[in-house]
Symmetry: C2
Subunit: 333 residues, 2 copies
């Protein structure tokens, strides 16, 4: 295993140290328990947004802490849920009386630990609401998930609800917007290679020299189809068909397209996929009005990508366009 | 070879199609000859900045076309210089009477083709100046280079001179600032894996299961040392020592640190390296006042990173902080 790390035991801590050193104007890092919060104190009367999950998906979630997006992120060990203590401590740190919205990807460990944290916080009088993202159309149940997995739409929820929270929406309104974004978004991924979890030291799964896996999870959970490598246009069509048919998206829809790299795929390939999607959606009468292309929710150094489509309305567009200033996403600020 | 491409022959064109589709508000793509220009017409009386080089280093350079950075980029085939026709056509497209500055990385093919284009443009009455970046301290001559290679500092030149051009600096002033940035910047890279050029279909070079190469070039050109994988702290020290001793950087210096991913390295590892650099520079009395961390000048899916240090003065800081709005770099706009 060749990685730019000091040791499997310290990689998350070392990376957070680097992040704190790099962005002191944006974030503060708590070491025990581990969480990342905005450097600026919460605005009075504003709902605070908290997300978290296993590490190894960077910049998710700590890279999205900052103005217009998250107030705190709780990183667990690589591909492992954070524990309730972390979540509770972060909740206390960011609560300003208007309540805290948990944005949780649908994985069994995360669901359980965020639920426990929510109960503990509520016992302390902190108002907590939770939204669970489950946008991955690939499979119904999965290795670490009952129901669908939460993937790319999580980034979009964090941005859009971040805009709403910044504008003063109350906790119930924030929760409703988050549910609506999750409801209007669908995703699917493809892996060209596996990744190596540092503590395991070997690939999570094996793919043949010409094999790809459609519907892969962001921890390498099995997808829906193993097939051979083929032109990007065909792979993109497989991904798009799965996503489009599920909601379903329709002629006349306005969408945000998110082409997300899994960590080991060069940007040039993500633009090839985006170009194919543009052609394909145009052909179906679906208009792309916003897009996001890059490595935002990764699976360590896995090669591959995921495609997320979100059906947009005017409120989503306005909140998507609202200023954001985080380590990984920045505009208008 | 597994890549998200349609074919080795069309990958650059397909990616540019995707880029044009994704960012119509930022760029226009010319197909024959191939170049990328800003969507907004050049401001009257402003110097125009043009860069280019082989593809496979995305987002460099097309991802840096936009307000506050480049006016045009000329992408060649993967790892191959653009030809004079492309450069000349782009030069004509962006010249507004105040002249065009070519920002050229020091590789033999690029130097030759940009020189020819400059002569042709000058014969048409267009004022052209050129700056050549050669910041890589790894080796003196290299596979495609007489003298040092141009690497990470190129991104910093494009941003800082972009700020100057936007503010109305004339061609000679822009050229001088570019020379100064190049003179005050030093870089070195490390590879953990090779990359596969699509048209070749096999790795550019071979590295053993536990081997890394210090001083690698962005096309896989040989570095200065093959060694075994070791903790990130030690690798970072090897890189930092090479860079620090070369200028040399001194106690009291204020610097910008650029930790650049080679394309296949996850962000979590880049933050580990940044954290080590922060510790190490602090210890030497060098203050990091700006930083940039991410995949900005890649070598397809190579795993590894490069480290660039730029000694800052007030003018550099002011121009670095100036608004920029490109596909790959955006702030204040």
């Amino acid at each position: 295993m060749k990685k730019l790390i000091n040791s499997p035991e310290t990689v998350v801590r070392d990376a957070l140290f680097g992040m704190a050193a790099a962005h002191p104007q944006l974030v503060r890092v708590s070491v025990d328990p581990v969480f990342v919060v905005r450097a600026d104190p919460p605005s009075p009367g504003r709902v605070a947004l908290l997300s978290g999950g296993g590490s190894g998906h960077e910049p998710l979630h700590a890279g999205f802490v900052g103005r217009g997006m998250l107030h705190a992120a709780c990183p667990g060990p690589i591909f492992t849920s954070p524990v309730p203590d972390q979540i509770l401590a972060a909740t206390r740190a960011i609560n300003n009386g208007a309540g805290v919205l948990y944005i949780v990807k649908n994985y069994t460990g995360d669901i359980m630990n965020f639920e426990i944290a929510a109960e503990l916080a509520q016992a302390e009088g902190i108002d907590v609401a939770t939204v669970v993202t489950n946008d991955d159309v690939a499979v119904q149940d999965s290795l670490y998930t009952a129901g669908r997995r939460g993937v790319g739409v999580t980034v979009l929820v964090e941005k859009i609800v971040g805009g709403a929270a910044e504008a003063g929406a109350d906790l119930e309104h924030c929760r409703q917007i988050a549910e609506r974004v999750n409801g209007e978004g669908r995703s699917i991924g493809v892996a060209l290679t596996s990744c190596i979890v540092p503590q395991a030291g070997r690939p999570t799964f094996d793919l043949g020299a010409d094999e790809i896996e459609i519907g892969i999870g962001i921890h390498g959970e099995p997808g829906r189809q193993r097939t051979h490598i083929r032109p990007a246009a065909e792979i993109t069509k497989l991904l798009a068909d799965a996503v489009l048919g599920d909601l379903p998206f329709r002629d006349g829809d306005h969408v945000l397209v998110f082409v997300n790299g899994m960590g080991g795929t060069p940007l040039i390939e993500l633009y090839v996929v985006y170009g194919e999607l543009d052609r394909l959606l145009r052909h179906r009468g679906i208009t792309i009005v916003r897009n996001l292309i890059g490595n935002y929710m990764t699976a360590l150094e896995m090669a591959g990508c995921s495609v997320t489509l979100l059906r947009l309305d005017d409120e989503f567009i306005r909140l998507w366009d609202a200023p954001v200033h985080t380590a990984a996403l920045r505009w208008g600020a």
